[in-house]
């Protein structure tokens, strides 16, 4: 068994040092305060690795296990009322300082997106009778939490250097929660915006001219009917799966003497100079829960009462009630035309923009509306 000696500075907690000071006697010349000797059994890969992607040191802890002291029913009710009162005032007018300057929409502008809940799919028809599937997304309780200007964002570890100072960060959250279930540092993120803490947070890269003031509410009117959007979310989590489900491999014959290998993969590779298992070999493992984006889906219908986006097409990732990031598309062919650019809600839609209240339902021109009786007859005559 190979072994190696590790010199560690400072102290190590007890639980970690299995063979702590195993060969103390050999290291008499070193200072105790500065050096610790630890012998570790040789193993090339640690069994579980915390990769930077799973937990970043700058992320705050979200959930807390801490419970309040015992509250009886009336007290509990009172606490709830206090929380609701506290945020009810801010929700009517969350903006503490004056509104930020509003800029026109230009060709290079990138606006913030919204966080939506996927509700499911429906079937719709075009005016000529062709059916197509729509995915329904609900923009529920969205607020802008923070804006980080490009100069500050450039110092962040997640900043891509090639982007330079083009983008700032816009943090958006959805689904207000009871603040008691979150930790204090997490609740502190929302103090500046003056909104209740959110269940879900995300960040969008925005150009500085499209920055939105923290505390602003977002809803479906951020988009217009006919816009093209990108939807990003996590796919359905299948857990640990075998090769047949995960990669669509053939398996082995079900009979003719096959035992215990009906659903196994065959050989893993060739021999000679191509031997060994190459990196990326398809094998069993965790399947699903990947971040996936569907680009360039058209918004064919909007419901302003329940804040619903009807997006044409299937393939928005995840089961129903998955969180989906919806933002303006990045596809160059599906950008807005010059006349559409003047009517874009910049940086987002405000209620005072509209003189008349918006209609409850808005459709794209070629989608069949169930309220219109004469439509099929017209189509039939033509």
């Amino acid at each position: 068994m190979a072994s190696r000696t590790v010199l560690t500075l400072g102290a190590r907690p007890l639980g970690l040092s299995h063979n702590l000071c195993g060969n103390l006697t050999t290291l008499t010349g070193l200072e105790w305060s500065s050096v610790c000797v630890q012998q570790v059994r040789y193993r090339r890969f640690p069994k579980f690795v915390v990769r930077p992607t799973t937990r970043r040191p700058w992320h705050v802890r979200k959930w807390t296990e801490k419970k309040d002291e015992f509250l009886d029913k009336s007290n509990e009710q009172f606490v709830r009322e206090v929380i609701a009162d506290k945020y009810a005032k801010t929700s009517s007018s969350p903006l503490k300082d004056g509104p930020w300057e509003r800029n026109p929409y230009l060709r290079g502008t990138r606006r913030s997106g919204v966080l939506a809940l996927k509700l499911g799919t429906l079937i719709h028809w075009k005016k000529d009778g062709t059916p197509f599937t729509v995915t329904v997304l609900q923009v529920l309780d969205n607020h802008v939490i923070n804006y980080v200007p490009p100069e500050v964002y450039a110092t962040y570890p997640s900043h891509c250097p090639h982007q330079g100072l083009r983008f700032g960060l816009q943090v958006v959250g959805s689904l207000s929660c009871d603040p008691r279930q979150f930790s204090k540092p997490y609740n502190n993120l929302f103090v500046k915006a003056g909104v209740p803490p959110k269940r879900w947070l995300t960040r969008f890269l925005v150009t500085p001219d499209a920055a939105i003031q923290p505390g602003t509410a977002l809803n479906v009117n951020h988009f217009k009917v006919g816009d093209y959007v990108d939807t990003q979310g996590r796919t359905r989590d299948y857990g640990f799966q075998g090769v047949i489900k995960r990669w669509g491999m053939k398996g082995m014959p079900k009979s003719h003497g096959t035992t215990k290998s009906e659903r196994k993969m065959g050989a893993t590779g060739g021999g000679g100079d191509k031997d060994g298992i190459w990196k990326g070999k398809r094998m069993p493992g965790m399947m699903g829960n990947y971040l996936r984006t569907m680009y360039g889906l058209q918004i064919c219908r909007i419901n302003t009462r329940y804040n619903l986006l009807y997006v044409a097409g299937v393939g928005v990732p995840g089961l129903p009630h998955t969180f989906i990031r919806v933002s303006d598309t990045v596809l160059p062919r599906k950008q807005r035309t010059e006349d559409q650019m003047s009517s874009v809600a910049m940086p987002t839609w405000f209620e005072e923009d509209e003189e008349d209240p918006l209609p409850e339902e808005m459709f794209v021109d070629d989608v069949f509306q169930f309220t219109e009786p004469s439509l099929e007859l017209e189509a039939e005559e033509s």
Partner: protein, 340 residues
């Protein structure tokens, strides 16, 4: 000195998980010397983020557990009804006159998917709203499998721009906007079946020529029956039932053609066919494929059905809206008559 530190050490160790204690006992002799000069024993300093540190069992289990990337639908409804929520209206439940008891057989397509993963209150509400809007435009009457119906659809290629088909309804299914039914008839000695979507905008009118039920839920066995059972005239006149009469059940028994059949009909427990002459092989097949335990599987029934309270509220809403639509239709007809 060393002994005292060891005692302290053991005291603090009690809060550790059991598996670590024996390990610590082994090491106490040398560890105490190590700890004596380092940071305070009572609270070993928490590690900052390091790339490769050993996780506790709980942490590993949490990481390996399925990550929930979606919310349960009840949690979503809770958020929608929360006092902290703003900007989105809530779905209101209708109260008032309840629907008749067997209304779900009249409008089966309004019942949502019983699988809880695909349930959503607002989505179902919007779908129902669209269906009722469509029902206000065209009259979709009450019909059952076994009824004889006539359907007119728009057809861009035909000279009259419409296409009419008459036949017996042999199947009905789908839920929501995807609801469909299948008509069967014999035209020029050839059996023809057409599937129609009930809410498809190309459908102009749906007419029930003869309202009746059959003994089975699907009549696909008519494909293997003599053609006279599925032959209906295109000029058939509608048969009107007396008002408030129950829907009659047609109890005719069909004699199937000899094999080959499309399916093994003897395994379907059909009531609308004459008793078959079973060969020993057929009996063996029936026995092998029978699932008698499903009659007693309460869990299966529970999973395949929508909750009764929810069903009641949905049907109430549909019933009230439908009666309103029909009332409007009647009054508009009366206005037309008066004008004439």
């Amino acid at each position: 000195m060393a002994a005292s530190i060891a005692q302290i050490c053991v005291k603090n160790i009690r809060s550790f998980p059991l598996r670590q204690i024996d390990l610590v006992y082994q090491q106490t002799s040398c560890v105490c010397a190590f700890f004596s000069t380092s940071s305070p024993l009572s609270q070993p300093k928490k590690l900052k983020h390091v790339i490769n540190y050993q996780r506790t069992h709980a942490e590993v289990a949490r990481a390996l557990r399925k990550k929930q990337n979606f919310l349960h639908h009840e949690m979503v409804d809770k958020h929608r009804a929360s006092p902290l929520q703003s900007g989105t209206e809530q779905v209101s439940e209708k109260t008032g006159e309840a629907a008749p008891r067997d209304y779900r057989f009249v409008m089966p397509e309004f019942l949502p998917n019983p699988d809880f993963r695909y349930r959503d209150k607002i989505l179902e509400k919007m779908e129902r709203q669209d269906m009722l809007r469509r029902r206000a435009v065209i009259d979709i009457p009450e019909f059952y499998v076994g009824s004889i119906m006539a359907v007119t659809v728009s057809d861009p290629h035909s000279p009259g721009k419409t296409n009419r088909f008459v036949g017996i309804c042999i199947d009905r299914g789908g839920r929501g906007l995807q609801a469909y039914f299948v008509l069967r008839n014999v035209v020029d000695g050839l059996g023809v079946e057409v599937m129609y979507e009930m809410y498809n905008p190309t459908v102009h009118s749906i007419q029930v020529l003869k309202l009746e039920k059959r003994l089975d839920e699907q009549l696909y066995y008519l494909r293997n029956a003599p053609l006279e059972h599925s032959t209906f005239s295109f000029d058939m006149q509608p048969v009107t039932l007396p008002r408030d009469a129950p829907v009659p059940v047609n109890t005719t028994k069909v004699k199937l053609n000899p094999k080959p059949w499309e399916y093994r009909w003897e395994r379907f427990n059909l009531k609308g066919i004459e008793p078959l002459e079973l060969t020993p092989k057929m009996e063996k097949g029936i026995k092998a494929h029978a699932k008698p335990w499903e009659d007693y599987d309460l869990m299966l029934k529970y999973r395949q059905k929508v909750n009764e309270d929810e069903e009641k509220s949905i049907m109430t809403e549909v019933f009230q809206e439908n009666t309103r639509i029909e009332g409007e239709r009647k009054s508009s007809r009366a206005v037309l008559r008066r004008k004439k």
